[in-house]
């Protein structure tokens, strides 16, 4: 049971010494069990905030956020998250970063080591086991963050622009890996991105958000559920879907831009 529901959720940031910001306004959204949902929207529209509420990191002050029908009251290992800026522990090596979550899960030592090795291979970081994050490139750090979250095999995967720092080639590889992982161990995924093609390629549905205060503007079915693969991106249907979403996003991006000036 991993269905997710946002009902009329609003969120206001109240920084101690500046004006409050209404980041989300009455957002309602349902994510079906084992669905891959992409959240698409201009920067500053509240995508991360939505994810933090679902992760249980921020208190739900208005509306309701539920997972499998139960209100979210705090973080839990059922929801694994990949943070936007990696959030690796800089004093731990790649291997130690990946092991941390497994230690918290009280897995037997041999099992932890096995899984850590497996994940390091999966994200192509073999040989960097004992490197510290400061010694890695942005793309490598991002892959460590993904490996760390996947290691504990959460039923729900929250990803905040997880491939943003990767070069196009690595990103394409990571797309395939992610899809393969989900095929092997089905998960409910909420995937934040501002890359329209990435959203169409990975997701079953794409929720387009409006500029601040964030609301859900439209939810688009991609309709490619069964046929994901590199061949898909060359098809007419894919191009049309991307075009359609671009039109939706463009207006919001311009709005977000003018508002910043």
């Amino acid at each position: 049971m991993t269905g997710i529901s946002f009902h009329e959720v609003s969120h206001t940031y109240r920084p101690p010494r500046s004006a409050p910001t209404l980041a989300l306004e009455r957002v309602s959204l349902d994510v079906r069990e084992r669905e891959f949902l992409a959240l698409l929207g201009p920067s500053g529209c509240g995508k991360s905030t939505l994810l933090y509420l679902l992760g249980g990191f921020l208190p739900v002050e208005a509306g309701a956020v539920t997972v499998a029908g139960k209100p979210v009251t705090g973080p839990g290992p059922d929801r694994g998250i990949v943070f936007q800026n990696f959030a690796l522990y800089p004093w731990k090596t790649v291997r130690q970063n990946i092991l941390y979550g497994l230690e918290k899960q009280r897995l037997p030592r041999a099992e932890r080591e096995r899984r850590a090795r497996e994940l390091i291979e999966l994200v192509h970081l073999g040989g960097f086991d004992n490197s510290y994050p400061a010694q890695l490139s942005g793309g490598m750090k991002q892959r460590v963050a993904i490996a760390r979250t996947l290691a504990v095999d959460p039923a729900i995967l929250l990803m905040d622009e997880p491939f943003g720092a990767l070069d196009a080639q690595t990103r394409a590889l990571m797309h395939e890996e992610l899809l393969a992982i989900i095929r092997r161990t089905p998960k409910t995924v909420v995937f934040v991105t501002h890359d329209v093609r990435e959203a169409v390629y990975l997701a079953d549905r794409v929720a387009v958000m409006s500029a601040r205060p964030g609301r859900i503007k439209e939810i688009v079915d991609t309709g490619f559920a069964g046929e994901k693969g590199p061949a898909l991106t060359g098809t007419r249907a894919f191009a049309d879907k991307v075009e359609h979403l671009w039109d939706l996003v463009r207006g919001e991006a311009i709005l977000a831009q003018t508002r910043r000036d």
Binding site: G74, P75, Y100, G101
Partner: protein, 247 residues
């Protein structure tokens, strides 16, 4: 190699001047014995065991006071950053006490804890506490929110988050605070021993001074300075190793 020579050349010049100035009669050799006489006195102190007995005593009290200050200081600083009631209670005290001249504590400690080791340890402890508290507080307060969230999501308890995330993330500031405390510990211990004591390097220095054995007195001063200098060098090495992850 060359850089080491350049770096320590002022020290060499100082040593030459120290030897030359009293020998040339520019100052009274009683007030400033030449370096060679001081070194001869130093070897004498080493032979009699004066240096071992007093040096060991000082080192013990310094270590006890410093370790106590580190343990209590880190705990207090981290708790201040973590639980606001602790901050409300402790932070004003820290601010008020920080500018207080630390050596002013020494007579009070002697009054409370007597003439022996306890008052020396207490003076070092209290004098070194605040830099450690402030380092730990600043470090712990600056920990990135997502690092804490990340640990919570993995299933860490509050205590585990403190121990496994907050303290290591604050380590650069904690270690910098301890370095300040290390320098202060030498000052406080010797000052306390100079004031009143029956043992220790400060005792050695003051008793030779009173007896007019100035070469031995200078040997004591030189020893304390050298140990302080090398302790700091050694500490920097350890700090570099502990923070090797900073790349």
């Amino acid at each position: 190699m060359r850089s080491a020579v350049v770096r320590y050349s002022p020290l060499l010049l100082l040593a030459i001047a120290w030897e030359a100035v009293p020998r040339l009669g520019l100052v009274d050799p009683d007030t400033l014995p030449p370096l060679s006489a001081v070194l001869r006195a130093w070897i004498g102190l080493l032979r009699d065991g004066d240096l071992a007995v007093n040096g060991l005593s000082s080192l013990q009290n310094l270590t006890a006071g410093l370790v106590l200050a580190i343990v209590v200081g880190v705990a207090l600083g981290v708790l201040m950053a973590w639980y606001w009631p602790v901050e409300v209670l402790v932070n004003p005290l820290v601010r008020i006490l920080y500018p207080l001249p630390r050596s002013a504590l020494i007579p009070v400690m002697i009054l409370w804890f007597g003439l022996g080791a306890a008052s020396k340890i207490a003076a070092v402890f209290l004098g070194c506490l605040l830099p450690v508290v402030i380092g730990a507080f600043n470090g712990a307060r600056g920990v990135e929110q997502v690092l804490i969230w990340s640990a919570r999501a993995a299933g860490a308890t509050s205590l585990e988050v403190l121990r496994e995330v907050v303290v290591p993330a604050a380590m650069p500031e904690i270690l910098a605070g301890i370095r300040n405390a290390l320098a202060l510990s030498f000052i406080l211990l010797v000052a306390a021993e100079l004031l009143i004591s029956q043992r220790g390097m400060g005792y050695l220095i003051s008793s030779f001074g009173e007896a007019g054995a100035y070469d031995a007195m200078f040997a004591g001063v030189l020893t304390v300075s050298a140990v302080g200098f090398f302790a700091d060098r050694l500490y920097l090495l350890v700090m570099g190793w502990a923070l090797r992850w900073r790349g």
